[in-house]
Symmetry: C2
Subunit: 238 residues, 2 copies
């Protein structure tokens, strides 16, 4: 947006004398639900039952909710956009500078935080776990989250994020943000299955996804079974 220009002396005066204190001020945090698919080791890489959808959590070191788990995030600083704030924590925890992110929802409960009125603008971030270098944070399986002591309303927040992720999987190409540049259709299918939590039929899956993919000409090798074609996402920059 271009910089605002006052229309006249009077407005200039108005703005100069404006008292920001007349409206309640609210602290704002940006919290990130960072999703990754664990691919622990090379051997397990293609074994669906060894993989799972995970979220990145940090353990709080201060009050309130000391020692509880929470989403990575923090207060929006002076003159900082939400995206900037988000990228700051993202880089801090994962070492990644440009993971795909989108705004999820702004949580506004009056007593979310016992200190003061704090609203949380939450984001979903998707990344290829193998590119991330995690620091001061842990990957937690989705099913484990409900077993942990979670700070604030972050447990609910994660649940909402999962719903959104599952929904968007169906009608967007969002999944490719969690994939490496090149992958096989089976790998892609397993990512869908892990996120949706259900098995898909291979024949139908291939048919519908095929037109979004581009053959690299390469094949997997040394697998003890028929090798697989390797594809890349055909869509826009990813």
């Amino acid at each position: 947006m271009e910089r605002y220009q006052p229309c006249c002396k009077e407005e200039e005066e108005f703005l100069r004398n404006y008292n920001p204190g007349q409206f309640p001020s609210i602290a704002v945090t940006v919290d990130a639900v960072i999703f990754g698919i664990s691919r622990d080791s090379a051997e397990n890489y293609r074994k669906l039952d060894k993989q799972s959808l995970k979220v990145l959590l940090v353990k709080r070191t201060d009050y309130p909710y000391k020692d509880y788990y929470s989403l990575p995030g923090g207060f929006v600083l002076e003159g900082e956009t939400f995206e900037e704030s988000l990228q700051r924590t993202l880089e801090n925890k994962t070492g990644l500078k440009n993971a795909y992110s989108e705004q999820l929802y702004t949580f506004d409960g009056v007593h979310r935080d016992p200190r003061m009125r704090v609203i949380s603008c939450s984001y979903i971030s998707l990344l290829d776990t193998r590119k991330a270098r995690i620091k001061d944070a842990v990957w937690v399986e989705l099913e484990e989250v409900s077993k942990l002591a979670m700070a604030f309303d972050h447990s609910f927040l994660i649940a909402e994020a999962v719903k959104r992720l599952r929904g968007k999987l169906q009608y967007t190409d969002i999944v490719f943000h969690m994939m490496p540049e090149e992958f096989t259709i089976s790998e892609l299918q397993s990512v869908y299955e892990i996120i949706l939590g259900e098995k898909l039929l291979a024949a139908a899956f291939r048919r519908t996804i095929a037109n979004k993919l581009e053959d690299t000409g390469k094949m997997t090798s040394n697998a003890g079974h028929r090798p697989s074609r390797i594809f890349r996402y055909k869509g826009r920059e990813c």
Copy 2:
């Protein structure tokens, strides 16, 4: 959310002495993109080309952006949730207490407002125009919006809202919030057409929508042509 309980004396102390001023405070507005379909008169009620998608706008009376058009909305007050703030403006401008609303997006540009840092949590509201009693606001046709001088980033905000509305029309039952209790399939189709901005084929439309509807047994009458069955939405409370 239940009220937070400090875990120990130390935390109690911490909270008592907490200084909220250490983090930047941001003013928050809630702005509503209120959609309605104009059905100006009884005669035009079923004539598609006489109807259009409209948004409710107000003319600003103060600086900044004095005399510009803007979305109805305002600052979130002390201890007020976004929904409460929204309902306040909604009732104020339309007389309606419970129009369907959902959060759209939180706009966070640092210089959105020349007075100070103000973020806008925006909502989409859908209503049946015939139930609304508009006060201090005007219905503006969507195409006219771009011709008006709009305050802040509200022009962009409206564009985003329209995208969301069109998208959600396809995979949710959101449309019924703009319909009266009882309606004909042709009326429903015309609402889809107005929002999407394109004609739909009647046969296909009926087929796909039919299973969401329940026949009231009533018919339209006195129309000069074959009368129409009157339906209601079968889904959950609406």
